[in-house]
Symmetry: C2
Subunit: 475 residues, 2 copies
């Protein structure tokens, strides 16, 4: 029997999950699931719904398999469609929750940041009003620890009570660990998963469901009895990454002052596999959806779910603050080199927050872009594979050319392959003599930097104190 | 021709290095080096010297190969001996510096901690006065970044000038990354090494020397042009570990409050190899020689070698402070459970700072021991394989029995195998009914904890908030 699956939320994760589920086959090769993606009846929601129903991903996407599988599921197999109609939840055997739980930072006091729990509560209530009593709710969203037990379960029980349903709602929490990029779909199937449930029956259904699309042979599932553990695991693992990025920042400042190439030093340390190879490197800043905010979800829980006073995740929150300010360090480096920003023409190469994907969410490029304009510089944005900069950068500031002769400062902000493979001889011909190149992320190797310096092109770099020494040697 | 090697400093690292060097053979199987270990003409120094000259390691040691190789080198091959006579430096082709550079923390203000650079300077001066002009100085000590270039090189040049030697002293820096324990010697031979030098000639000699005893086939050397990079690498890699221990502390507090087993959560995260598997676990505290202090060496450099104002390694130093206080958290847990410490009888099982070795340096056990006594408790120390507690614990407080019936509180502080393999049924018979067991390091699994609770033995644990839930289930 084909099971009915709803996926609530057609964002990055929701569409990918829906697509993977639509590809699952039974023993004789027929689809195991009929999948319906649900989003809101808003402009954004309808846009996503229409896109999915025409067989296309509504986001820029680097994963060709993902594109193909979505199209096949919608157009050929017809076991994947999207809607804003909440009534579809009434027939669902399993509902996967893949909606956002957003945070708005209080820049003056991160501890007072706003967590949009209300939006999440509203979404859960809709499920409670519509779902079958034995439908499994599987929460994939990253949420404050304790939310499943203290918020979701209570809400669903309340709605069940209103509807005269006496049984306990079946709830499971299992954070996705999707990695955007070329292997988007694969990162759902071939990766480690935690899961937890509110009861044995929910556990059983969830386990069978997860097994049906995750390669558990190579990536066995880890079960937790309490849902708070799996929620905590997700925010802790992202806080760990954010912390280790922030940690390197203070060593970056030191390396720059004392003439050290910190990238090379860290490479030598990372050889110690298992103990030191998670070490992060100097960089331009942190973007994306998760790393800049997940620590705040845990801090919010402490106060608003567990009502614990006097417990602050100090290092965790401090790390987020350091990372948010990190792009301004590149600004300081430039200002220190130029004296004044006013009237200078900048081009920033790279708009995405990460090298392997076209994704503008919380991109540090925006932070530096804004700062440069505030200080009277003009700033154009160039990116080899993002076309849609809407709502992030000014349309007039998008630069699609390859001749940089107009610019006083050229900033490399993302480790795109095309930048890493830059031909220095050709590049020098395309830029202004005396221009300043800014390498924010070890994009240029020493050979190229030396060539630029010899050609009277100035170069500075984040974490690359040794460029000073190279300049001394050349002059 | 047999080369003359001196090793300055017969501490943990010096004796191990000297022993490895004495085992190096040429193509026909004869010793390549004649090795002389040098220590000071003090009680401690003479004790070490006499011990080495009788073929024995003057420290407790878990590495049987190390014991055997040292004995063979001294007694049979006779190419290793020890002395306090500084004149032996006059014949050395290579001098390996393996002396301590100690730090005394200013507990009120870590930024004002004292670095004993004077002792290091005196040791270098002795070399400068005695060494041949073409002798290579290889510094293995962990020292403040910049010391080789700004301190050692200047000192040696000064002494050369006084002696009328015009050539540049040959200097290399290459931090050891020795790991104490069962594979002590092996960790010198089979491990990654950085090295750097003040000139091409020093590089060449150092490279050949390092190649002669390091397995460079599997662990290729990494060369840095400037000595500050290799110095920085060492203090950064240890600061990274210290930071990640401190980071988990705030999540430990949270996990305990909200009923989570943080060890299990972290295990599930560490499955993500390469990105998350360096994550540290909750624990009792940080000891040993390096991790509690190395960050302070870098901060000291900033102010005293590079004279940079307004640059603080804030996260790095904060981590050291958190780690130093960590054992007091176990105290708080106990106090919270017992109400009062006064008159209670404690036994702490485990005195070493780490599980695989018998090493009391900066052991967190001492911190808790002191705190318990301050609060009017008695505290005995039990350890399965340390015999010599001198200068660390009170002789009268050493407990060597196996019957714990006298004690109100039994604290497991070190993950020794014998504790991990504890037989709970036998153990319950050896302790007082109603006693409190404190698990500081995930030494007891849930099965054992459940058994203890059922037998009316109380249990609490660092990072083990879930024990509360187990108690609720049982009662």
């Amino acid at each position: 029997m084909i099971r009915q699956i709803c996926v609530q939320g057609l964002g990055f994760v929701g569409i990918a999950t829906a697509t993977v589920l639509a590809t699952v086959k039974n023993e004789v090769g027929n689809p195991l699931y009929n999948v319906i993606g649900v989003d809101l009846n808003t402009d954004q929601g309808l846009n996503r719904i229409n896109s999915v129903n025409s067989g296309h991903i509504p986001f820029s996407c680097e994963d060709e398999v993902f594109k193909k599988e979505l199209n096949e599921a919608v157009v050929i197999n017809k076991n994947l469609r999207a809607t804003h109609d909440e009534k579809v939840y009434q027939n669902a055997d399993i509902i996967v929750i893949a909606i956002n739980l957003d945070v708005k930072k209080n820049k003056r006091n991160y501890y007072k940041s706003k967590v949009f729990i209300e939006d999440f509560i509203n979404a859960i209530r809709i499920l409670g009003k519509n779902m079958k009593k034995d439908c499994l709710i599987l929460i994939e969203s990253t949420i404050p620890p304790g939310t499943t037990k203290m918020v979701v379960e209570d809400l669903l029980k309340e709605e069940f009570y209103r509807r005269g349903i006496k049984s306990t709602p079946l709830i499971c929490h299992s954070s996705e660990r999707v990695m955007p990029g070329k292997n988007y779909l694969d990162s759902i199937i071939n990766y480690w998963r935690n899961y937890s449930s509110n009861c044995a029956k929910a556990r059983q259904i969830a386990e069978n469901f997860l097994k049906s699309f995750i390669n558990i042979k190579n990536y066995p599932l880890t079960y937790f009895k309490d849902t708070t553990s799996t929620e905590l695991a997700k925010v802790l693992e992202n806080s760990y990454r954010a912390l280790n990025i922030a940690f390197i920042y203070e060593w970056t400042l030191l390396a720059e002052k004392i003439g050290i190439n910190l990238f090379k030093v860290i490479d030598s340390i990372k050889k110690r596999k298992g103990t030191h190879d998670n070490m992060m490197k100097p960089g331009f800043g942190v973007g994306g959806y998760c790393l800049p905010k997940d620590g705040l979800l845990a801090q919010w829980s402490i106060e608003n779910i567990f009502h614990i006073s006097n417990l602050k995740l100090k290092m965790t929150i401090e790390a987020l603050q350091i990372n948010d300010k990190m792009p301004l360090h590149t600004f300081d480096l430039i200002k220190n080199e130029l004296g004044s920003i006013k009237g200078k023409k900048f081009v920033m190469c790279g708009a995405s927050y990460l090298s392997d994907i076209a994704d503008l969410r919380n991109t540090p490029t925006k932070v530096l872009y804004t700062k440069i304009k505030e200080h009277g510089g003009t700033c154009h944005i160039s990116d080899p594979f993002i076309n849609d900069f809407e709502g992030v950068f000014d349309k007039n500031d998008i630069y699609t050319g390859s001749d940089f002769k107009d610019y006083d400062v050229i900033i490399f902000a993302v480790r795109y392959d095309s930048y890493l493979n830059l031909n220095p001889i050709k590049f020098v011909k395309s830029i202004k003599r005396g221009a300043l190149i800014v390498d924010t992320f070890d994009i240029l190797n020493d050979e190229k930097i030396k060539y630029f310096l010899k050609e009277k092109i100035n170069v500075i770099g984040v974490g690359k104190g040794h460029i000073k020494n190279m300049k001394d040697e050349i002059s």
